[in-house]
Symmetry: C2
Subunit: 377 residues, 2 copies
């Protein structure tokens, strides 16, 4: 017997032009679903008893290996930042299609975290199987109950994104980020590397995500302008640093997937080592620059883009007049803690891709050549 936990009626567009747009707007509610019942405010802790991994074993785990493909891989890159900074345990991230064909170094003190919306991604399943065969314990982060990945592992942490119809992942991605944030706090508390006070700060930050997402969803004017101004561009660059570098990669992937524009994400600090040669007035650059620990460095990279007459689309704090001055189009985002900036900024890069694709008239929900779940190698 297969248990279906979603009502078919919920898969309708509910007045939105595309499923992808509906799913973008759904994110605040789905983050609430993913956090629900898992934050223990009184103990400044996370309840992941559902995961069923042994707490004693976890307390002495030596390494996490996060494995995924595509958008989930970018969630894993954010996860590395979250887990290393919050729980202070080393995290390695690998593409499933790369990991499974090397002879990876995995010990019995490794937790292999496999991330996949569908829980059916062939390369990720094979990579997890390989790691477990070498002695690692496996934790799946997936969205589909009773998926192969959920069955063939030691523990499961479900995202509660609900059914995702658009081929380009949106709410599955941000709920993965929320799940990884919970995992980071949980690990930190179990390993004694995170005290109650710091844990409370991170948990409070996670709880502000839905509100911050709602706020960024209220102003759609910048995206319409981006589509009008840059919808015909051949190429885009996306830049970010630190915990927002993976969101630059994800933003570029979204644009590739649904608008067929060649977009590439880059760590902003790498600009000078090559991609800056591409910059001219034809090449829009999307930069993720809310105030955080690397804000000044990002801004100085942006000055270089400006000096080469690059067109700048900047995502940053509403009251950041310096950033506004540099930007051709400015997307204000609410000021939030660094650890949740990836979740909030994701909404902006999703909307950039959506508006450009809709402007171009592509098949947003079923882009050419792509499948929702890649169940072949």
């Amino acid at each position: 017997v297969k248990h279906i936990n979603w009502d078919p009626i919920s898969a309708e567009k509910q007045g939105y032009k595309h499923f992808m747009l509906k799913e973008i707007f759904e994110q605040p509610a789905r983050i609430v679903d993913t956090l629900r019942g898992r934050i223990l405010l009184d103990r400044a802790d996370v309840d992941l008893s559902e995961v069923e991994l042994d707490a004693e074993w976890l307390a002495q785990v030596q390494k996490l290996t996060l494995i995924a493909c595509g958008t989930s891989y970018y969630a894993a890159l954010v996860g590395k930042y979250m887990i290393e900074s919050i729980a202070r345990v080393p995290v390695e991230v690998d593409l499933a299609s790369e990991f499974r064909y090397r002879t990876p170094i995995v010990t019995e003190n490794t937790l292999c975290v496999a991330i996949s919306q569908s829980g059916e991604t062939a390369d990720t399943l094979a990579a997890m199987k390989l790691a477990r065969g070498l002695g690692a314990k496996g934790l799946a982060i997936c969205n589909v109950i009773e998926s192969t990945m959920a069955r063939e592992t030691d523990g499961v942490l479900y995202t509660h994104a609900g059914p995702e119809i658009g081929v380009a992942s949106t709410k599955a991605f941000t709920t993965q980020l929320a799940a990884l944030g919970l995992l980071a706090v949980w690990l930190g508390r179990r390993r004694g590397t995170l005290d109650a006070e710091q844990a409370a700060v991170h948990l409070d930050a996670l709880r502000t995500v839905p509100t911050a997402m709602e706020e960024i969803l209220t102003d759609l004017e910048p995206y319409a302008e981006i589509a009008r101004e840059f919808g015909q561009a051949h190429s885009f660059l996306y830049l970010g640093r630190g915990i927002l570098y993976p969101i630059a990669l994800e933003g570029a992937l979204k644009l590739k997937e649904i608008s067929y524009i060649h977009a590439e994400g880059y760590a902003a600090g790498e600009m000078k080592h090559g991609p800056i040669a591409l910059i001219d007035e034809e090449m829009p650059v999307v930069v993720l620059a809310p105030r955080n620990g690397v804000y000044d460095k990002t801004l100085s990279n942006l000055e270089e883009v400006k000096a080469r007459e690059g067109k700048i689309i900047a995502i940053g704090a509403d009251d950041d007049n310096e950033l506004r001055r540099l930007a051709d189009i400015f997307i204000p985002m609410p000021e939030v803690a660094e650890v949740i900036q990836p979740l909030v900024a994701s909404v902006a890069v999703q909307l950039i891709a959506y508006y450009i694709a809709d402007f171009k008239g592509t098949d947003v929900d079923q882009p050419r050549n792509l499948a929702k779940s890649v169940t072949v190698e």
Copy 2:
């Protein structure tokens, strides 16, 4: 007193149209220089006594962290494959500009290997300093004697590329790869993870690099054809798997740097997770597909590109008729051991970029916006 170990006259073009082309053709000789005196055939070992790192300490090192920027970062990614497979010690690779602004997890049993042609790259110097401050030992792989990096570390492994004038790195990159191959064997022998027989196989492979490079340099016709056919393209994709995935990244970077064409490198297994949406008859795809452990998988990714009418430039074995059939333009490369395929294939991707840039008439040796050494942050 500063010791200058290069004769100024050697920095002339010697009849080549550009320094970059001269430096591409110089590579077999510079690989010989980098290997010279370091391979101990009778003991199937490597002599890196010059490095002056304590052998006992190295035998129990728990992790290597390879840190670099730009092209050197792609050398580090190849280094991870070489060192993990040959010496069986875990290797983490990080962009210097990312590493230095997180709070990285570094222990006293970590060897931090910083890679930089000039030895003056600001982010890499800062990252190395941070790692050493946290207790790691530092090993510099650099090309310039008495550079800051060579002075401010525990050990130095020099590449012997000679002065590199072209801003886009070529011989500095392949000599870095040779140095990393030597380091892998040296570590494997010291740690007891590599027996004499296996070591001899790898060392023999390294010794065949110059001859294999000479061979690929004899046939320039494919590159002229690529420039004629695809010199006007807006975008390129470069695909590779395993030890050749970083060469896909490096090939794309070369094209970006000197031809100003937006080229992106991708792990071939990730194609289906997004970039395949970009593929049409306008988008040339360069694929690195010599026979090795992931050849079949790469070929099946290529079939998908072909099915979407993508134009294919394939680099592979001379007698590979299946690959020839799929390719619009075929670049034969000599059959060599997997571990040295990155060095040989590098020559092909360098020539692709060079011929396209020369066709377009860009300033090959001094591309716009780029500096030879990035000595600012």
